[in-house]
């Protein structure tokens, strides 16, 4: 990167927009097929009813809500992380921010669809909108689900803005280099960006405001998601630790998702020179901190529960520690802690491969964590006579798989339309801090060894 000219940067980063390999189409077709199958399963679910799932009494929430929390959690990858890095002026962030913010927008959209997918009567989901309805009532503002509705929508709007703003100069760049129809489309998207100092100034100011504003919104979103559970008097749900625990878990899984996405982009879009080991190392360190923090939360949650020895909580506690959910629980501990911590703590292992392995573990582990927060409590809710079990149906499994495919699909499409690394930010970083950056990069790369 140190030796790249602005023209080379343009070339490298805009290449994926014009060059498409056959492998891309194959992958696209596969993901699209999975999404279509999942969509048709959802269609059948609407037609027949939620009976096609494995839900029952008393396990009324399971895979869909797990997916909801998981995807909303992943969304913290981007906007929150990039906003923090922006505010901290971490210069290494520049190639990372956009791919992070895209994760946010897509995973938030996917996550937000789950409360609708999981509804008994999804065609009435619009009743959550506060509008003067013919029913003569407003939504119930006391319901955490309504808080979700507002928080997620706010976060989604904020994230989209946060993503779109710094894309304007890049759209303009593409507009200037394209012709015909593409020129018209990108011209429209660029919203008349001409690169005047005034525009640059306004963009910087807007980004700064957004970066500050989005952080509390992001924190509130996952806090509110946690309150979906913590507000209900269900054993092991009704906990004061849930909000920070969920936020930490969200950032944790978000970073992991970002590392995986970056590694994918690096490989498939040949961005080795832009997404460098240093990025993975730095994100790896962040992931390590979050892993330790996650463990701290789980430990203190479990410890206080166990020490309190309240009988209803204990029946949930033991079914996760030793009972039928124990295999999942210990898998989660392995994936979220035992696996990533050594990899990320030992400098030699904190390579790109290492961080990706740790991240895959974390993503799996965090999905299981959400499942374990939701389901065991419901299977062991108070009166033992009405305890239950849960087994997902194929519909739930396929719809879950479909959302992962949808994420990949959206990401692939996005990377073909917009430079996944912010071109102007990279250039700006280079021109402003070239010398400074060079010394840092040289030093850290010598430290980390060759890629």
């Amino acid at each position: 990167m140190a030796t790249k000219t602005p023209e080379q940067i343009n070339e490298d980063l805009l290449r994926p927009l014009s060059v498409v390999s056959p492998r891309y189409f194959v992958a696209l077709a596969i993901f699209l097929a999975v999404v279509i199958v999942a969509g048709s399963m959802f269609g059948r679910q609407i037609y027949d009813g939620l009976g096609v799932t494995g839900l029952n009494r008393p396990v009324f929430w399971a895979f869909y809500i797990t997916n909801f929390v998981f995807w909303i959690g992943l969304s913290h990858a981007g906007t929150l992380i990039s906003a923090i890095l922006r505010l901290c002026n971490a210069t290494w962030r520049r190639p990372v921010t956009r791919c992070a913010e895209v994760i946010t927008v897509f995973s938030l959209s996917i996550g937000a669809s789950f409360p609708i997918i999981h509804l008994g009567r999804p065609w009435l989901a619009f009743w959550l909108f506060p509008y003067p309805s013919e029913r003569g009532i407003w939504p119930n503002i006391r319901s955490p689900l309504l808080w979700d509705f507002f928080a997620i929508n706010t976060y989604l709007i904020g994230s989209v803005t946060f993503l779109l703003l710094p894309m304007l100069p890049d759209f303009a760049l593409i507009r200037d280099r394209a012709s015909g129809f593409r020129k018209r489309v990108y011209g429209f998207l660029a919203l008349g960006w001409r690169g005047t100092p005034k525009q640059w100034h306004r963009l910087e100011t807007a980004m700064h405001i957004m970066a500050i504003a989005i952080i509390p919104v992001a924190v509130s979103v996952h806090s509110i998601v946690s309150w979906d559970f913590a507000m209900a008097p269900v054993p092991m749900w009704h906990s004061t630790i849930f909000a920070p625990y969920f936020v930490a878990g969200a950032i944790f899984s978000g970073i992991a998702a970002l590392i995986i996405a970056m590694a994918g982009l690096r490989k498939f879009l040949h961005l080795q020179e832009y997404l460098r080991p240093i990025h993975f190392q730095n994100l790896g360190k962040l992931l390590l901190v979050m892993s330790l923090l996650w463990f701290y939360f789980v430990f203190s949650e479990r410890l206080t529960g166990w020490y309190g020895n309240e009988k209803y909580e204990m029946s949930v506690f033991w079914v996760t520690q030793r009972g039928s959910f124990a295999p999942l629980f210990w898998t989660m501990v392995f994936c979220n802690f035992l696996l990533p911590v050594p990899i990320l703590a030992i400098k030699k292992l904190r390579t790109i491969t290492g961080t990706v392995i740790a991240s895959i573990g974390v993503v799996i582990g965090m999905w299981i964590e959400r499942f374990l927060i939701i389901v065991p409590s419901l299977t062991r809710k108070y009166l033992p006579f009405s305890w239950g079990t849960y087994r997902p149906s194929w519909t739930e499994i396929i719809i879950t798989a479909g959302t992962f495919a949808a994420m990949a699909l959206l990401y692939m499409l996005f990377a073909k339309v917009v430079p996944i690394i912010a071109v102007w930010e990279l250039k700006a970083g280079q021109s402003v801090e070239r010398e400074h950056l060079e010394t840092i990069l040289a030093a850290s790369e010598a430290e980390a060894g060759a890629d």
């Binding site: 027949d48 009813g49 939620l50 009976g51 799932t53 494995g54 839900l55 029952n56 009494r57 008393p58 396990v59 009324f60 929430w61 409360p115 999981h118 509804l119 008994g120 009567r121 999804p122 009435l124 989901a125 009743w127 959550l128 029913r135 009532i137 939504p139 119930n140 006391r142 319901s143 955490p144 689900l145 309504l146 509705f149 979906d228 507000m231 209900a232 008097p233 269900v234 419901l378 809710k381 108070y382 009166l383 033992p384 006579f385 009405s386 239950g388 079990t389």
Partner: protein, 235 residues
């Protein structure tokens, strides 16, 4: 008016016969779900008789406890509903307005007593079993929650009749289907705001307590504990 409907269940009388369970099905148009759905944990019994074994053979003891919606005054099911489908009526009941329900099932999770039931499929009655349906009770469609209403249709009918006759509802005039059928008279229904109603007086019994009251739900059903036999006292 200001009725506060409540119930007293004497566990010393309850024999676990489940007459209440079937009476409730008949009165409230509760659909049977069939063996496959029942195996999946989707059977709907607005009232159930919980059975607990204690001890081992031969010193085994059994306890029966009918559990239905406790019509809590501080019901966890109510605030969580985003559409006010689950709400508190003026007469202290945990109402469930089926038409408002969009099926988040949040109320069912929040309910500590697991007395809320979900329509995983559209209910079906093989013809002509549909002729048994009670016209006073609506049939719930797929995707909505349903629960014990304390036989609201009977309460309303009695209140309307009393209003027409310009009087108050008499104590004992209203009997939910479960109370009506109970062969041992283990259940008593009445107005808890009237200190002289039979239910109020029985609820004040020293044997009375409430199910999982420690959760702060303020249930309106009082359970009278089973007694043990004391020969000398009875002699």
């Amino acid at each position: 008016m200001g009725h506060q409907w409540g119930m007293v269940i004497d566990l010393d009388r309850c024999t676990g016969c489940e007459a209440c369970v079937v009476a409730c099905h008949a009165e409230n148009n509760i659909a049977t779900v069939g063996d496959k759905q029942a195996a999946g944990g989707r059977a709907k019994h607005w009232i159930r008789v919980e059975r607990y074994y204690e001890g081992d053979f031969p010193d085994v003891k059994v306890k029966f406890m009918p559990v239905l919606c406790q019509q809590c005054d501080a019901a966890p099911c109510e605030p969580v509903c985003p559409t006010f489908a689950s709400y508190h009526t003026d007469e202290g009941l945990n109402g469930q307005i089926y038409n408002r329900c969009i099926g988040t099932r949040y109320c069912a999770n929040a309910c500590p007593y697991n007395v809320r039931f979900f329509n995983f499929y559209n209910p079906a009655w093989d013809k002509p079993l549909d002729l048994q349906l009670n016209p006073d009770v609506s049939v719930r469609e797929v995707g909505v929650m349903e629960k014990c209403t304390f036989c609201l249709q009977r309460i309303k009918a009695a209140e309307i009749e009393a209003a027409a006759e310009k009087r108050d509802v008499k104590d004992g005039e209203i009997q939910p289907a479960c109370v009506q059928s109970c062969p041992t008279n283990a259940m008593v229904f009445g107005d808890l705001s009237d200190p002289h109603s039979r239910a109020s007086r029985m609820a004040a019994s020293s044997r009375g307590n409430k199910l999982m009251e420690e959760l702060g739900t303020r249930p309106k059903i009082t359970y009278l504990q089973r007694e043990s036999w004391n020969g000398d006292e009875n002699a």
